[in-house]
Symmetry: C2
Subunit: 313 residues, 2 copies
């Protein structure tokens, strides 16, 4: 089979590349999302950039708020291309090449299935931890899409009743605690009530980030350790539902925040013990995605294009 | 295709019947579970009862704590037939007929798929509400079994952190609040702190049951209404995870407690609004299983036998 154009649409950057069947990149580039006026503009810019250098036989696009049934982006909070963006139609019009649109977290799951550690697994989950929280999962060897193309809204499961207000209008959503802003908010709250000194106080509040907080926690800063403890307890609470309900072989953590590797994994596993049925406790492992260092978004989108029939089998 | 022997093993009764392909019962009988010494004894008793009256081409057994991968009952708290009971092997030895063992909640889901309202659905969940809480679900048209045959442990998802102690060793499991004993316990707690009179006070504590509590709630008894409100809020909390994660077309409520029909459904739907992502709120419906009045356990076990290849496709 020939090469695929994989596109990973994010709120900050849009990365794309030409991917060979074995997952090798033949070409790679990116565009700042803010410089793209519309999906039509994006298609035209990428087509112009590729020119005649690279022939591709398919296009796979991973995007936030993508509905795989309608093949459109629907109400994406971080994109200003309109409420409903019929991405597949727009790219097929520009390129005249078969295009498949996949939710970004499902793309991550497909990346894991076709190029990562899940190649032999029929039942696994990938959680993407970053500005938002996403989830893609395989059951019986097929991706869960849902009756309305909306499966995988782990970020909006409630982990604390009457908890923090979420953009979605509900209270206590996982995203408000373990996405980037949620972690920083918890750190600020804890700093306010902390009597002793904390390494975090040497960082200006506007520079406070999950990476800094995890770094300080690894250096035994008590406030940072508390933040990591709280964050991983909430994450474990949500993961326990996945394990109790789906009985997966593995839960992969992927995305920016998952780069805090070992500490994140160890603390999450510790808290899982309080929430997971004893029978299942040692059966599902939590792993940091080994694709974190590659561009797994592009790889996943390319895999989605190659295997789209498998996604809805 | 010919007739199937469906067996529904419960903690109190074991019901069985010969089911034709269209779901009609050709014969039905039951045995008190306490009078059965072992799975071998059960197989022998049923074989003797059927005698030569009914020829069957397959056997389907729905059982609590059944692992569909090992085809055994594993550590069932309400059965005293040993820790690991290789049910398929025992029945095939006695009958010399192909036998398939399915988790009782998965049997309920298969009953719904083959004889109930889910015949046209590819994505749905059945929750069984009774002495324990079970769950069976279809994704992409196939039953979720899990990597270890243990999917569907909804009863042991935590709905209240640091909540009631559960038999499984954890705290705050759904089962401790919405299974039969949990509902009665909540009523007793509320009665203790209630100043005014309650219809429930006219019932001796040992006769207090979910049916009585729901009956009083329908007659506007304030304490009973509070109990129903609490119970349905916890149930909705757990269901919201199913909807956010799986995006099913419908969540069916089945089993003894679900016979409290309309009130249970209405209050659960009301509470779901606080927990489900707005996008998904009007998409998944909650329904009381229309199979409640039939012997859905036997029907589901028979369906499991007929369609076992579909369960793990």
């Amino acid at each position: 089979m020939s090469n695929i154009l994989g596109i990973d649409i994010g709120g900050t950057n849009i990365c794309y590349g030409v991917v060979a069947e074995d997952g090798e990149f033949l070409y790679q580039n990116s565009i700042k999302t803010s410089t793209v006026a519309s999906a039509e503009d994006l298609a035209a810019q990428i087509k112009k950039d590729l020119g005649k250098k690279h022939q591709v036989s398919g296009i796979g696009i991973g995007a936030p708020s993508a509905n795989e049934i309608s093949q459109s982006i629907e109400h994406a909070p971080n994109l200003e291309w309109g409420d409903i963006v019929p991405l597949k139609a727009i790219f097929e019009e520009e390129f005249d090449i078969d295009t498949y649109v996949v939710n970004d977290a499902n793309a991550a799951a497909m990346g894991e299935k076709f190029y990562g550690e899940a190649q032999e697994m029929d039942n696994f989950v990938v959680i993407t931890l970053g500005t938002g929280i996403g989830m893609g999962s395989y059951v019986n060897g097929n991706l869960i899409i849902g009756a309305n193309g909306l499966a995988g809204e782990l970020g909006h499961t409630v982990v604390r009743r009457n908890g923090r207000e979420c953009n979605c209008g509900k209270f206590g959503c996982l995203e408000t605690y373990i996405a980037k802003n949620g972690i920083v908010k918890t750190a600020k709250e804890k700093l306010e009530f902390s009597s002793g000194g904390s390494m975090l106080q040497s960082i200006s509040p506007s520079n406070l980030s999950p990476a800094e907080i995890f770094k300080s926690a690894r250096r035994e800063d008590p406030v940072s350790l508390e933040v990591v403890d709280t964050v991983t307890r909430d994450l474990a609470f949500a993961i326990s539902y996945l394990i109790n309900i789906l009985d997966p072989e593995c839960v992969f953590l992927s995305g920016g925040i998952s780069k805090n590797g070992n500490l994140l994994k160890r603390k999450t596993e510790k808290h899982l013990k309080s929430f997971v049925l004893p029978n299942l406790r040692d059966k599902a492992s939590v792993k940091i995605s080994s694709l974190n260092d590659k561009n797994s978004g592009i790889l996943g989108a390319a895999a989605a294009s190659r295997n789209k029939s498998g996604a809805t089998a």
